[in-house]
């Protein structure tokens, strides 16, 4: 089997029959990464920024020593650089966490290891998960494996690109405003953001605490279902995680579409959306119709305020969450100072990149006295209105269908100087974070530039099984092949 045809499901079958060695597979990935670097020294994919083969060996040995059959059977898994993995450099692609080594495993990492997965490295990302193009990383840009001139999406750009480039089997990312779904869409793979509170955030470096959620980036919907089953669940270490039963997601695929009602919110299908994107996503709606679902137009009038709401609240939380990076206890520090206050100023000034500073400034501003009511408080109110609107729609519909992104995928450097244009990349994804509901992105076509077009499915809280089923049925019946640039070149 070609490495490009391998996915998590197939790996589990092969591993059960002992026909594949996780360590050989990791070495294969490392070889491919090295080859890519050699061939394209200035334009490498740059998706994987850290790997630890020794640690993978140790984990595999421990796995073999235990007699019990594990769920993940040694599957090698990549996590984003903002996941705490014990003894790994959890740097969030930021200079300020340079050489910071995590002293502990986060809950999701622990669950993966406990279920027989092997964490073998870190993927690249936008600095502190702030960005939609993976251009803000202190470890350099990530390139889209489908076409290197294009962005891989962000902020989990490294996770998405690594899966697409066959530099990893599956990856985990984090989604605060679209950071799993948008890069999955850019790289033509599957990305799932679970319900807020479904997956523990303990050991995920916080960007915006009330929006962040961990989720899988995989080649197939089924792979996402398998990973979600492992990582979901209540965690006493995360006060915002919820004690709701975890479904057997892989077992709930292939349910009939009969009687399912899907909503198309008209605000996501306006003339501002790229026509190629519109056409493809409308075709998806037709597919569901033809297969027994009821698909109807609805309105979510306040979702247009999602971006503004999101950028007020997420930056406010970020300004506070990132304040701990002060050089006092760990990470980068500039201590050529005459007074301790200067440690803060110099360390933070030199340690953080431009985009992160911009957001912390916005966040501090909206929280400051005199502006708090007009921005933060108002945004909180709008947030509850947006949430209520979604809940209203979900009284009559089991899912909502939208494009994942309003525009076609853009080139590296194209929007770097225009932060507002960049922020609009998340136009269709943020409202799921604003309202806490789950969302999934799946490719449904190729645009005129040869890059993927994806659609998004949203569901009521904790109904991940519904959208996984819907996506799986579409995926099985509409196979599309989005070739990697290097595969063609090979």
């Amino acid at each position: 089997m070609k490495i490009s045809e391998l996915n998590l499901k197939k790996f589990l079958e092969l591993s059960r029959k002992k026909e594949i060695s996780p360590l050989d597979l990791v070495e294969n990935y490392l070889k491919k990464i090295a080859e890519d670097q050699e061939k394209h020294p200035d334009r490498k994919i740059n998706a994987i920024i850290y790997h630890d083969l020794e640690n993978a060996r140790k984990q595999f040995k421990a796995l073999n020593a235990s007699k019990a059959e594990s769920y993940l059977k040694g599957a090698p898994i990549i996590v984003k650089n903002n996941f705490n993995v014990k003894n790994f450099p959890t740097e969030c692609a930021s200079k300020i966490l340079k050489n910071y080594v995590s002293p502990y495993d986060g809950t999701v990492v622990k669950k993966i290891i406990d279920n027989g997965g092997i964490i073998w490295g870190y993927s690249n990302m936008d600095e502190f998960a702030m960005g939609s193009s993976n251009e803000t990383s202190c470890r350099g840009v990530v390139r889209n494996p489908i076409h290197r001139d294009y962005i891989p999406g962000g902020s989990s750009g490294g996770s998405a690109a690594s899966v697409k480039a066959n530099h990893s089997l599956v990856a985990l990312g984090s989604d605060t405003g679209g950071s799993i779904r948008q890069p999955a869409a850019c790289c033509g793979i599957v990305g799932l953001k679970p319900t807020y509170g479904r997956v523990s955030r303990f050991g995920l470096v916080a960007f915006a605490s009330s929006f962040d959620q961990i989720g899988p980036l995989t080649k197939t919907v089924e792979d996402s279902a398998i990973l979600l089953k492992v990582i979901a669940g209540y965690d006493p270490k995360d006060n915002t995680s919820l004690n709701v039963k975890v479904d057997d997601y892989p077992a709930l695929l292939n349910q009939s579409l009969k009687g399912i009602k899907i909503a198309l919110p008209k605000e996501f299908f306006t003339s501002e959306v790229d026509p190629e994107v519109l056409a493809k996503v409308k075709a998806v709606a037709n597919f569901y119709r033809e297969n027994g679902a009821v698909v109807e137009e609805v309105s979510l009038p306040h979702t247009k305020f999602s971006i503004a709401t999101y950028y007020v609240l997420s930056t406010a939380e970020a300004s506070s969450n990132l304040a701990r990076f002060d050089g006092v206890r760990y990470g980068f520090r500039n201590d050529e100072v005459s007074h301790f206050k200067e440690i803060y100023l110099k360390t933070r000034n030199q340690g953080f990149g431009k985009e992160v500073k911009r957001r912390m400034l916005i966040g501090s501003y909206v929280l400051s006295s005199g502006y708090f009511d007009a921005y933060y408080l108002k945004a909180q109110k709008v947030r509850s209105i947006i949430k209520r609107e979604y809940y209203e729609v979900f009284k009559n519909y089991q899912a909502i269908l939208t494009p994942t992104t309003p525009y076609k995928i853009f080139k590296i450097g194209e929007k770097l100087k225009d932060p507002v244009a960049m922020y609009l990349s998340d136009l269709f994804t943020v409202s799921a974070n604003v309202s806490g509901i789950p969302g999934l992105s799946l490719p449904c076509g190729i645009d005129s530039n040869g890059l993927p077009i994806s659609f998004q499915l949203l569901a009521p809280p904790f109904q991940e099984a519904t959208i996984l089923n819907l996506a799986h049925i579409y995926e099985v019946n509409n196979p599309i092949s989005i070739k990697n640039e290097m595969e063609e070149a090979l």
Partner: protein, 492 residues
């Protein structure tokens, strides 16, 4: 000159004596080596989240119940943002808009030579928050030749639970403020939610104070003096501020609204920061924590299991032990003193009947030592059982009150029973009639003049003879017997 009246409010920070910190499982313990009690959560490593300690919430509810506060079934944690090396997250998890308790009151009793009255001091709020760490500043003289000033950070205290108890500005003198603070401290001790140890910083107060013209209702501009951690410094800071502010006002100068620190050496307050440079803490609701939801059943349960509170103990002592109001108040206004008293009473089968005597010994002999040594009754060396035995021996006539007082300091020093000390000193009470008669006889013979005065009708002089006899027996003669025999011989 105008007459000024002080208007005082107190913000008390009380450390909760939970086993673990407020948001992680590190021990909440004083005195360990620096940074021993820390983990990735209280060191604010990337990726960590707070998990609230349920016991802290219960303890806050207990204080709410004891002060008859309104307990909110739903309250919120908020973040107070500021940079400082003792504040690892760069924000403190606290409460602002909706604290766990609001309203409530603490009744104080003023009992000194001039005044005797009670007064209700109302509470603004009781909120839960986490404490900061400590900075230790070493100046150039300590162990470093280069003359570089160094500061060290100890985060053992970072993240330990605090209650902030905010009173309304309803006190008018340092006397009232101290009494409020003492009453609150006592309440915390009764509830066993704080160890009352002010030297270790378990209990500290911020004092806000303004002056207004006597009989006026218009409030003046107030100052806030931070971090006072002894009764003495609260009193001194208040007295200093009253003097300073009244001087300013008398000279028609304005009081500046500012935050002050009290200099314990020079006994003055100094500005820490003024309002113009006041920090903007950018409070917002803590997104890592769900609202604190309290079930009415929990409040009910805590209410039913609430310990005996000072007022209840006061009433019971009055009834059970027939003590005076004043004595009962002295005993019950210190939980440990009340406990000490009751242990002594219970250790002696006749204790309840002799409660007055036990109480007298505590309120005079013991409190004078405790006050002189500036210790708490818990630090007082003598076991209450030994006090009970001492009273018993006096009751049985085995020793006199004089001997009791003589041996008491040694009992205290050695935490020894009275029998042990009596044996060591070879002391005992002489009740033998012949022995006493002989002594009385010789004393009368040595004082013929006094004897004649007595016979001429000066009955009062009998006391002189008692004194002389006790002196001759070094206080070891049974006083009852002495009286009997002396009267017989004088009248014969």
């Amino acid at each position: 000159m105008k007459e000024w009246e002080a208007v005082i409010g107190l913000e008390v920070h009380a450390q909760l004596n939970t086993k673990t910190k407020l948001f992680c499982s590190c021990p909440n313990r004083f005195g360990d080596s620096p940074n021993q009690n820390t983990c990735e959560i209280c060191l604010a490593h990337p990726g960590v989240l707070p998990a609230p300690n349920q016991k802290s919430i219960e303890k806050a509810i207990q204080l709410g119940l004891a002060t008859k506060s309104h307990i909110h079934l739903l309250s919120y944690f908020e973040r107070k943002n500021y940079f400082y090396p003792d504040n690892p997250k760069a924000y403190q998890i606290s409460q602002l808009k909706k604290p766990i308790c609001e309203g409530g009151k603490i009744t104080i009793k003023i009992n000194d030579k001039k005044n005797s009255y009670t007064k209700d001091i109302h509470l603004e709020r009781i909120q839960i928050e986490e404490d900061a760490g400590k900075l230790i500043h070493l100046d150039s003289d300590s162990n470093n030749a280069q003359g570089i000033k160094k500061s060290y950070v100890d985060l053992n205290r970072a993240g330990t639970p605090l209650l902030e108890i905010v009173s309304k500005a309803e006190m008018n003198s340092s006397l009232e403020a101290i009494e409020y603070f003492k009453t609150l401290r006592n309440l915390l001790l009764y509830l066993e939610i704080n160890d009352g140890n002010m030297q270790e910083g378990s209990l500290r107060a911020d004092v806000n104070l303004s002056l207004r013209e006597k009989n006026s209702r218009t409030l003046g501009i107030r100052t806030e003096t931070k971090n006072l951690n002894s009764f003495k410094s609260i009193e001194q800071a208040i007295e200093y501020e009253i003097t300073r502010q009244s001087q300013l006002l008398n000279e028609n100068q304005a009081v500046v609204q500012e935050t002050l620190l009290f200099d314990k050496k020079r006994l003055v307050t100094k500005p820490m920061r003024s309002k113009e440079e006041a920090q903007d803490y950018r409070y917002f609701s803590e997104p890592d924590l769900m609202p604190i939801k309290i079930k009415p059943s929990l409040i009910e349960e805590l209410k039913n299991n609430l310990v005996e509170l000072p007022q209840e103990k006061f009433n019971r002592f009055l009834k059970e032990y027939q003590l005076s109001n004043y004595d009962t108040w002295v005993l019950t206004s210190d939980k440990f003193l009340a406990d000490y008293f009751e242990r002594a009473v219970k250790a002696y089968p006749e204790g309840a009947k002799r409660a007055k005597k036990i109480c007298n010994w505590i309120n005079t002999e013991i409190l004078s030592i405790v006050n002189f040594q500036q210790i708490t009754i818990n630090e007082f060396n003598l076991d209450s059982l030994h006090l009970a035995t001492l009273i018993k021996l006096m009751d049985e006539g085995t020793i006199s009150g004089k001997i009791a007082k003589t041996i008491f300091p040694e009992m205290v020093a050695k935490n020894a029973s009275p029998e042990t000390i009596l044996k060591e000193k070879n002391l005992k009470l002489v009740s033998n009639e012949e022995e006493i008669t002989a002594i009385v006889k010789s004393v009368i013979e040595d004082n013929r003049e006094a004897f004649e005065k007595y016979q001429r009708g000066n009955q009062k002089i009998a006391g002189f003879f008692v004194g002389q006899i006790m002196k001759a027996t070094k206080g070891q003669a049974n006083p009852q017997k002495v009286n009997e025999i002396l009267k017989k011989m004088l009248d014969s």
